[in-house]
Symmetry: D2
Subunit: 344 residues, 4 copies
């Protein structure tokens, strides 16, 4: 291992985010896979994940901190919330640079206990971890060694609303966020509700009024902004689509708002405000780390509409995690990532 | 033709609503198909619509008022808006009972001109036509000979909001309606945007802020209630899902609201308020004329959430049209219709 | 319960075939649901199967022979193979008329042991049970009290090949049957491979060379005809499509073969040989009990191609089971069944 | 333009193969887009193809040979058959290295006239063009300046059968090839049959017995081998799945056949014989240029089964075209291509 590449491990390598991380790191010019741990599978990766046929990647192992530490400089921890944060904290203690993809390191202990209904990790780690919304926390991420990678719904919602929030334009508003997700967001453990026979041709909300990405969004927006977040399941594998509604915005404000968004994202490689007349499409960002955004004002009701599309496994999980790794190691932010979606 | 059954025609028989009408009337105990007209096809139905293999149905003809009038007692007109209303009016003038499935007879002439950007039919017909939202206009429909069948989005939205509106609980509110539809709602004429290669794995809004079902909803709700209606395309063939957001509703009001909805729909065969803890699913109503509704309050923001699911070709078009025919002819409201969805 | 209707029970009522049976019997003019047993769920049906909102159906119970016997005249047993046959046999012993939807009563004990790798039920039952391929075994089914309902792949394959087999035209041939199925055929128990995230946009074969419907097909064809049956999964919920290849057939024989198929199915309400130039489509039979068939000859290689489409939950399971119930009770064969598919 | 990269043009840039070519060349380390021509669109690419938001690519132009010639060293021509070959020939005459993705340069003039029912291009060009099945024609492609890129069905079929054909193991056999394709293979021009409302939940064959890839396969296999090729439409956007049946192969020959295939593809980066017990899955190759292959023998009938999966827009079109470009320019065969599929 003296390729000069960053030796990267993945704990939780066979989950859907884990699989996407494997694919991204295989194609990464400055990083290489040096360790893969999985909970349910051991041995040859291609026996479990046939898309990696022909790849020279480490075998799947049962996780041990010692092995992970020895094999890696940096590690992605993509385990279920409730387990992931503790593993991530342990590896950070051991000196690795860590990106945790779970919800365990994102909230204050109070909010975590309330929304996850579970004991949070120790405050030390919560204070150390940096929220990995790359476009809005770049400096802190560059200096971080422990990153809490944002949730998929939170990422799409925040990229839609942060220009307004930072511009002081959201005060006293309740923002309605009607969000839709592909089912890979629900994880790889078999459940009746996630069978194709149940989901095909179907659509429905879940965790109404109590989705755990709600406090994550509100915490990042700040200023006591309240969000109604409705999470709904699309009958497809990948993608998050957000339709956000902000009241009390005049149509005359639209050009200025477009400037605000344009400026906010002009220098970012992955976030794009679309031209007038276009709307974000899930398929245009599929397989890419990009986020497409559009603004409109419904004149009759003075409602600002914001639409945003991401791939939940990319910008909503593995892609943003790699983007954060790039920032942490001072690399080109786009290294190993795709800007352009796989369409059709 | 002395079966004693009502002789029913369909003008626009090969469109998606027209196809569903054929299927429903074939299975109707008190009606029979006596005339089928189509714009693009003539001759044997099964050559165009293979699902009717083996059925004894009339051949497809080019439409003439004379033939239609002679063959039928009642007729469904399911042509594109801009054409349909005129044909429907002519057949009504000729003495037939008519259900028009287009948007041509639903609005005032002012609203029609504004939202459809086209000349409305004469006011005579607009005044004569009865809005066919079966559950909320039953008496008028029973007495009508010309019915303007509601739009698919309008039906799902109105079944969600009418109990509030009639209960006087919507004043001064802007209601946000985030709606999603299967692509059969876009009609059968080939368009690039509706190709499977474009839509599969995709999701996006269209006609943002200017969907023509908006004034239809507001007119039926009355009392100057304003609705933000966002219409979005699901990558499936059938179904409409509405997620509606009403501000300023306390959680403590929920039990009373559930009573209100329960009472509103207790006697209706097709509209069901679901039990606590359940959410409407598109698949549960697919192929049926039912509408499933659920209420919830997001306590932190005092927002009432209303979810509703229908099949756009059934309760959103052909099914409700048959329900209205049943009412017009004094038949059992459910004759020829299915209450239970085709799932899985 | 003195409606004069046949009191019908379903054991295994929440599986996919069970759900379809509930829907069909609710709509049946001469039968009514009097007993529902399920392995995993008890209580209100609509809590588990929301498509039955509003239906007056018995509650789900844990199965006991005593209760089933008291409640029913006839019963569908739709449990997993290995369990179903024994339950069916017990209920038949108790005097009920029984349709078993599993593979347990279809084969000789030798073939069953070989292909199912499990103990068969006692020969008494195997000898008593009548193979329920309605169109080809009608007389025996009419006289039967214990019916082994055919497998889904077997039904589509046999409807494709029986005219040839009975016509003595298959001798010494190996027939290649390339079959594709929707995933409801794999049952309702959650499995990783059946999650939408795995199946969407996917296609692959399973049980290559050892699918248990192979001996079922060969037994019904007789005359030592051998079939290569390849079973493959489509990324959809419903449907079976069979493409069968018979070698050594001249193009000149096609008209005669069309006559043979036409005559074989001319009097049957559900099986249709399509007109020249058409091909069976899955969607044209979805939700119906119909089977569409087409023949073609590849002239360059003297290969007869036979295509057939059914809905695996209808003609491939619940629909044919109801058809067989109708035959057993001397009813109109189509009672409670749909001939026309739900399209689009 | 002195980046040192190969200046590459695409004629037919907005078709589905064209779009994939844009994406691949954007990410190619040694090539850059210097010219984009489209028939139906001009101007900004992202207005038509939103997945390229943010990309610095040439504007879409109406095609002229002069402009193309001046802008490019190499060009992909991805126009409809009947037009494409002539354009490709003209650009080759003008001195460019050309990969033509249509069927116009693949067959002898006799076969072309017969199967395409159209005038072939002049024999000069047919003789000059090299068939671009990369793994089996590598030397000729390396030396070529005009490549006829193989058809999608032909590619999957030939990769499945060439080891047998070259090994002399196919003589006197008729091989049955049951093939299934995603709908992008049917092109981007809107057609009723390709609308999502028609295709979703559907499956059916088309061009039975007369698909134009049949002679392409037989020509490459040689030795008078006859193929029955059945082409069928899957309700998905991408992918080709081939299930091939070769008669008269003993189970005892399987280990040797596995050796044969293993050796044939051991040195190729994209074609993989899977391990025992695995089957090719469409999703495992989606978005990649790979082909996964598996062999099995049905012992009871001595039938060899060969399964193969590719992405029709990659190895079946744009991917193989780039692979051929790489070979023609002496580059690493995998430059700009992905080996690993986008799953889930």
């Amino acid at each position: 291992m003296d390729s000069g590449k960053i030796r990267v491990g993945i704990v939780g390598a066979t989950g859907y985010a884990g699989q996407e991380l494997i694919r991204l790191i295989i194609g990464h010019p400055y990083a290489e896979l040096s360790y893969l741990a999985a909970t349910t599978d051991e041995g040859d990766v291609t026996a479990v994940l046939p898309q990696f046929q022909g790849a020279a990647v480490p075998s799947l192992e049962a996780y041990t901190k010692e092995q992970c530490k020895n094999a890696c400089e940096a590690v992605f921890v993509a385990l279920p919330s409730g387990v992931s944060g503790t593993v991530a904290a342990g590896l950070w203690d051991a000196g690795l640079r860590v990106v945790d993809l779970s919800g365990d390191l994102r909230l204050t202990s109070t909010d975590y206990a309330l929304w996850y209904d579970r004991e949070p990790v120790r405050d030390t780690y919560l204070h150390q971890s940096v929220y990995g919304l790359s476009e809005w926390n770049r400096e802190a991420i560059c200096a971080a060694s422990l990153v809490a990678n944002p949730g998929c719904y939170a990422t799409a919602t925040l990229l839609s609303l942060m220009p307004l929030a930072r511009g002081g334009l959201l005060t006293e508003n309740v923002v309605t966020v009607d969000a839709k997700s592909g089912v890979t967001g629900a994880g790889r453990s078999p459940k009746l509700a996630n069978q194709l026979a149940e989901l095909a041709d179907n659509f429905f909300p879940y965790r109404v009024g109590r989705h755990q990405h709600t406090p994550e969004v509100e915490q990042a927006l700040g200023a006591d902004i309240k969000v109604v977040l409705t999470t709904q399941l699309l009958p497809i594998a990948r993608g998050i689509y957000v339709s956000a509604y902000v009241p009390d915005v005049q149509a005359s404000a639209l050009p200025e708002l477009r400037h605000l968004y344009h400026d906010a994202y002009a220098e970012t490689p992955f976030v794009h405000l679309l031209s007038d007349g276009m709307v974000p499409q899930l398929k245009a960002v599929r397989g890419s780390n990009s986020c497409h955004i559009q603004l409109a004002v419904e004149e009759r009701t003075n409602t600002l509409l914001i639409f945003a599309a991401i791939d939940n496994l990319q910008k909503g999980a593995a892609g943003q995690a790699v983007q954060n790794l790039n920032l942490m190691f001072g690399l080109d932010e786009t290294a190993g990532l795709s800007v352009y979606g796989l369409a059709p």
